[in-house]
Amino acid sequence: MEEKKTLLSIRDLKKVYTTREGELEALGSVSFDVGRQEFVSIVGPSGCGKTTLMRIIAGLMPQTSGELIVDKDYFDPQKDVGFVFQKALLLDWRRVIDNVLLPIEILKLDKKKYIPRAMELLELVGLKGFEKCYPNELSGGMQQRVSIARALIHDPKLILMDEPFGALDAITREKMNFELLRIWAESKKTVLFVTHEISEAVFLSDRIIVLSARPSKMVGNVEIELPRPRTLEQKLLPEFNRYALDIYNKLEVK
């Protein structure tokens, strides 16, 4: 089964920041695997190093120690990663379509060839007809959807999402979760999703990595065996709540 193959192996990854007050351990020895086409969430309290972990995986900062192992023949960490940030981070001076095509320009690929794909992706995220708009003509939720299309444009194998819906209201957020699952199911990507909303993580994921507060340790690696496609009704199931409770217990919430 291809799905069981590993895309990314994280081994004893550690990050220590040197500050004026001394050393600050942002991420303490984390190890887990991410399979191909798997949806893995990372949950934990603020400041537990979730964002740090994502930035290390994206190559935006070096780790202090530990390893990131990838199958180089299958996966190039420079080109095959798409990153959705907490903020939409659209460039004000580019129209929606040109924002989506930004990674193509940076990777020096043939922009013309990717225009049809950009249009398809905009349709996929429900923004057909908005390609000529400027970002400040769109609402927050629409902007974040543009940023998802942008993260998918260069057909990356791994999508890193760092609390992408944190700034949205609860209703929009719920809608976006459904859209995300639909996009994930259609595009067959691997997703690594950071959140501090436990029920959101249970709803979306195949597996949840639980990180404790600083100095952060990995305190859980929970398989979520709810059938797909996920539905709102599942949130009422005892299993759903047991998963959530299990994670709360691992985080020592009393």
């Binding site: 190559g59 935006l60 001076w93 320009e105 940076i106 400027y134 003509e137």
Partner: protein, 264 residues
């Protein structure tokens, strides 16, 4: 994109005209009622006569002076723009250069530039080059400082956005830093535009054969108040047109800037 309808714009323009007409009317009335001597405050009618009455306008070659001053302003503006942007790019590109050049710029900026005009006259002599140099000197720093700010002060997250894909320094400049600096550049240019006008006039005060600044000085020597006021009027009109042109260029370069926030 969202232009005001034509009717509203016409009404707005008419309101402005009425405002100006009221001020001119009060001015004329005050001069008439209090019998103010024309060598103290000329009436608007006298000022307009000095510009448009063929007999009176002939003693000054208005178009020559307008052309000379406008030419100096435009030339100094484009030199400022080109030199300012190039220097700003250089400073933003290289950290060591930034550390070396910025303190010098801040130091030079603290000199009252107008006070250097007599020195520049000695170096460059009478003529256009002196006026333009004075104007550039006065107008140069806001462009450099603003543009450098726009190039350097960027949301780190925007840099992450391209850096995780391995963007080169050149790409970061072309795709992020330069567009990000555009609003700052135009803010600097607007400040500089006024300074170019001031600089050109001061240049003409000290060293010039033609130009409205020169004319202003010679009218002063003759206590020709009407001509002096006409010069001031022309200068403010030139300044306004110039400012408007920069605004138009700003909108053309940044079509996204005047769009409001939308709702889903």
């Amino acid at each position: 994109m969202k232009k005001k309808p034509m009717k509203k714009r016409v009404i707005g323009f008419v309101k402005k005209l009425i405002g100006v007409a009221v001020v001119l009317g009060i001015w004329e009335a005050v001069v008439k009622i209090f019998h103010i001597k024309k060598y103290i405050l000329p009436s608007p009618v006298l000022v307009f006569q000095s510009l448009f009455d063929p007999a009176k306008a002939a003693k000054n070659d208005w178009w020559l002076h307008i052309g000379t001053t406008s030419g100096e302003i435009l030339l100094s503006f484009f030199v400022t723009l080109l030199a300012g942007v190039l220097l700003a790019l250089l400073i933003a590109w290289s950290k060591p250069l930034n550390k070396m050049i910025m303190p010098v710029i801040v130091l030079l900026n603290s000199i009252p530039k107008i006070a250097l005009a007599p020195l520049i006259l000695l170096w460059f002599g009478y003529g256009l080059q002196t006026n333009v140099f004075v104007a550039v000197l006065v107008a140069f720093f806001p462009v450099v400082i603003n543009t450098v700010t726009g190039l350097i002060e960027i949301d780190d997250n925007l840099l992450d956005l391209v850096n995780y894909l391995g963007a080169s320094k050149r790409q970061v400049f072309m795709k992020i830093r330069i567009p990000n600096a555009l609003p700052h550049l135009f803010a600097g240019l607007k400040t500089s535009a006024t300074m170019c006008v001031t600089g050109s006039i001061v240049g003409e005060f000290i060293a010039s054969k033609n130009g409205l600044g020169r004319l202003l000085r010679s009218a002063q020597a003759n206590i020709d108040m009407a001509t002096m006021f006409a010069c001031l009027l022309l200068l403010s009109i030139i300044g306004l047109i110039f400012f408007k042109l920069i605004s138009l260029a700003e909108h053309a370069c940044m079509p996204w800037s005047d769009l409001g926030g939308g709702e889903e």
